[in-house]
Amino acid sequence: MNALRRLWYRYSPQLIIGELLEKRWMEPIVPFTLMLLVFAAFIVTIPSYASIVQLQQLMRSFPEQAFVAMAMALSILSGGIDLSVGAVFAMADFLTLYFLQVQDWPLPLTIVAVLAWGALIGAVNGGLIAYAKTRPFLTTMVVLIILRAAYNKITGVYAAELAGASVDSAAWDFLGAGFVFGIPINMVCLIVIGAIAHLYLTRIRSGVHIMAVGSSRKAARHAGINVQRSLFLAYVLAGMLSALAGLLYAARQNSAGTDTGVGWEVNALAAAVLGGISLAGGRGTISRALMGAAIIFLLINGLVQLGTHGSLTSAAIGAILLAAVAFNVKFVKNKGKILQKIYVSPSLVEFSPPASIERGGGTVFAENDRLKDSEAIALDKIEGPEDIILDRSDNLYTVNRNGSIIRFLAPNYEKREEFARIGGRPLGMAIDRDESIIVCVAGMGVYGVRQDRTIFKVTDETNRTWYRFKDDSRLWLADDLDIAADGKIYFSDATTRYDLSEWALDGFEGRGNGRLVCYDPATKTTRTVLANLAFPNGVCISHDGQAVLWVSTWLCRIYRYWIAGPQTGKLEIIADNLPGYPDNINRASDGNYWLALVGLRSPVYDIAMADPSFRTRMVKQIPPDEWLCPGINFGCVVKFDDNGEVLESLWDPGGVSHPTITSMREHKGYLYIGGLENNRIGRVPLPGADKSWTGWDSYWGDKTKKGAASAVAHARADHVVSA
């Protein structure tokens, strides 16, 4: 039963829904569903509705309306409206027939002429609206009325002539009734032009400008966009699309009746709105207009096939549109809120009681006063030294919360200078063979700073997880790193679902949202080594260079991942159920490792971790400041060996000088202590430690690699990567 619960919380459908809702392409989900529903409803009610012939018939009739809807959508996206689309369409229909049949023009010339006609009317509209600053609604309505009147007059005059004429052209027939791979030719046109239009509006500069002008004319102008030209262009394109629709209509119907195109502008407008294109402009896509058009087309067509009375058809369509639009407006407006409500999706994490930390309790974790009298370095001169590192000349480097790396100069660390300003939130650091500082920057990736203070990017992306909706190729929260002897940089990307400021939410999830990533300088590629890790944090290459030690903060575990030697690729837990939340790991001079416990486990929080629904409700019902969280005000530093055995601990009782201990670094007989939210760096002497030992020498010095510690240690448990 519990296994089932664990599984449910681990692969919660909430996760998928949450990440889906984040996607921009989920916005038209309502019109899309409605389209499918309408289609399905007619398949059920109308016999052989889904037969090939019937589908071909539907596809044959649809494109003209779709083009007109597209034209309408384009004008709406530009922030205006084009009511003349129906009339332009009708006139184009007539002109096509007139040029071909009365004037006997060749087909290509006719096509060019008709498209030019559409562009001309578009230019009139656009010229008036963009340059003469007239109102789009009134302008295009006037054009509509004039064109309509002209159309009625002219078709009346040429009715007899057109009725008698005919064209003997294979191309013309093909345009009217041809198929490409079983798809009607006009549908093929629609698909091709629709795709082009979509790319145009999203990828091509002038198309993007139209969208920008629609979103905010003022902002577009301030951004240096030629607003008038963009508007003008939008109406010209709208006119051409309508004309194209008229051309195809003429080819298919070969007639110009009095009611051709009557009311099409209203249908087009309804399609755009139904597709969820904002009448305020700038929000929407071509595909949404097509969806809206398809719904309306299918409804009209289906109801007519069912033999519904005309007025009833209109009423039914009106009612459905009203309901759909109302629902869609609510959905689009509240999508963010839904996402907010379901995004956090806690998993089940079950702990057993940890080792005692009671003072005098006899365990290695027993509270003591060894950090109580630490010497404060850089007191109030540093904000949030998450990690510290010392170079070969004893200078101390640390990270600051404003995105810079600060250097305090040896020997007394009184002089402070900004070594480099990277941005983001720099976290874990390491020094490479060339004595450059390599640093993980939350929100940016992994960066480096050479000794001449030039900043370079190491990497900012890794391979994307193919089965996730969320694009996790960018590094989200690079946390700590270490460099192997061959120069490969192993680093942790703590979570791909939250930013650093929302670390507590990731803690509530306790799920494997993070990963261990490796950058290979030889090939300049970055690959995810281990995925689905629960907040991987500290990373350290073992003394013998054969394994990466890393910790999972939320699961309170230390793992070892072999990168060399006979066990390469093996992952094992070497310490489990720590009494606190582990953070950075660094090498100690005696062949062991230092580990910062950033916070202590609280029994109440452990219970909360075993109750995902409690955490969900907590996140929903009370404000963030009131959430229960891991107690990171009080922590300690511990030392462990290659077998994961904890050897000793160093405490600052009550976290007076050192709350949120996130790292420590041994250097020449001293231990330096950093804290994510602290205002100082602490320093305590380590009695008995090697006074000449430095981190750099341990990694790159001459005396490294003499098979320091035990070569092979046995695994303590089967590898379980995430909760």
């Binding site: 930390i357 904000e383 202590l600 486990r601 929080y605 109750d611 009370i622 400041d625 107690g631």
Partner: protein, 367 residues
């Protein structure tokens, strides 16, 4: 919709408790006055209640003992009496002398030498196991609150978290501790009682219902004077200006209120976690690094923010005759004067006792 419900509630159920925690505002605006108030004498572990006798001697209950402290700064303390169980509330009456509430047992009269002169243990045959406060009328009648039938008063956290049906009582008896009768029953942890200045009615504080109610001395239906305090009100005493002093021993927090709605989680917490590590209010005593933390309580740049959600808090309010807060004295989340359980006023200063930090401080009394 909720507005309509609020209006209906206001009209038809004027005494019903409202559940949104009010912000500290108006008379309750935060300050540092309690934090900065001068502390009298040394720390006194788990000091609980204070009372003056008519000669100006201050009696303090602390743990098993009652201490007598002499003016002017009450740092000379001598043990007056010692009991087998914790001593809580104290009161002084010209007729009976010093009255002390003893956990699990009842109320007793203590004479000038510290000897017990008499007990009130079982009014109506129902033992007073949780005597939380006692007050005396000028004519000698003794009024007493019994917090709960289920827990002694040291177990207040458990009583809050168990959320049983209210079972507290107000009991009245004569100056000789006889003739006891129950004035009111089924109160939600009544923890403070005072006879009003006109000697005709009583103000009774219910901690878990966060309210102050007015009872007639003869009994009868109460009237809620103040509802929905931002904290858990505790003992109440008279102020010289015709108002009252109210000690609030902790603040309500959204987390506590949330956990009080989470029955399963609370049951598990009570079962598995030692009481001093529970999520919920505390008096501020016995720090343990494993106690639950809230996001807002994480130290930033080494500083605990005073506006952090408080696990413990120090708050004293001066109320007017109708119960409205006129002014208040705070020791905020980062402070060191938390869990105030009692305030008494005499000779132009009010003494407040912090049970959490074991301190007594003198507050200024301005007209």
């Amino acid at each position: 919709m909720s507005l309509a419900r609020d209006i209906v509630d206001r009209i038809f159920f004027p005494d019903r408790d409202v559940h949104a925690i009010p912000v500290l505002d108006g008379g309750f605006s935060p300050n540092e006055r309690l934090e900065r108030a001068p502390v009298l004498g040394d720390t006194l572990k788990s000091a609980d209640a204070l009372v003056f006798d008519d000669r100006g001697v201050l009696y303090v209950s602390a743990g098993l003992q009652i201490l007598a402290c002499a003016a002017p700064d009450f740092s000379e303390r001598k043990v007056l009496a010692e009991f087998d169980a914790n001593v809580g509330a104290l009161a002084w009456s010209a007729h009976t002398g010093l009255l002390a509430c003893v956990s699990g047992r009842g109320v007793c009269a203590v004479d000038a030498d510290g000897a017990v002169a008499g007990w009130l243990e079982q009014p109506d045959g129902d033992p007073v196991r949780c005597p939380t406060a006692v007050a005396c009328a000028v004519e000698g009648t003794i009024y007493l609150t019994d917090g709960s039938r289920h827990n002694p008063f040291e177990q207040w956290q458990a009583d809050l978290m168990q959320k049983r049906p209210p079972s507290g009582r107000v009991i009245a008896c004569g100056a000789d501790l006889r003739g006891a009768c129950v004035l009111a029953d089924n109160l939600d942890w009544p923890a403070g009682i005072v006879v009003t200045h006109d000697e005709r009615s009583l103000y009774v504080v219910e901690s878990w219902a966060h309210r102050l109610s007015k009872f007639d001395c003869a009994g009868g239906k109460p009237r809620v004077a103040v509802k929905n305090f931002a904290g858990y009100p505790s003992r109440i005493s008279r102020a010289s200006d015709g108002g009252y002093w109210l000690a609030l021993f902790a603040l309500r927090t959204q987390l506590t209120e949330f956990i009080l709605r989470e029955h399963e989680f609370r049951a598990r917490m009570m079962n598995e976690v030692p009481q001093h590590l529970w999520a919920g209010p505390s008096l501020g005593d016995g720090f343990d690094p494993r106690e639950p933390t809230q996001i807002g309580r994480i130290k930033k740049l080494g500083i605990q923010k005073p506006w952090a959600p408080p696990r413990s808090y120090g708050l004293v309010a001066r109320l007017d005759a109708l119960g409205n807060a006129v002014e208040s004295f705070h020791s905020r989340a980062s402070g060191r004067f938390h869990g105030v359980t009692c305030v008494v006023e005499r000779d132009g200063r009010a003494l407040a006792v912090s049970k959490g930090h074991g301190k007594i401080a003198a507050l200024p009394v301005d007209g």
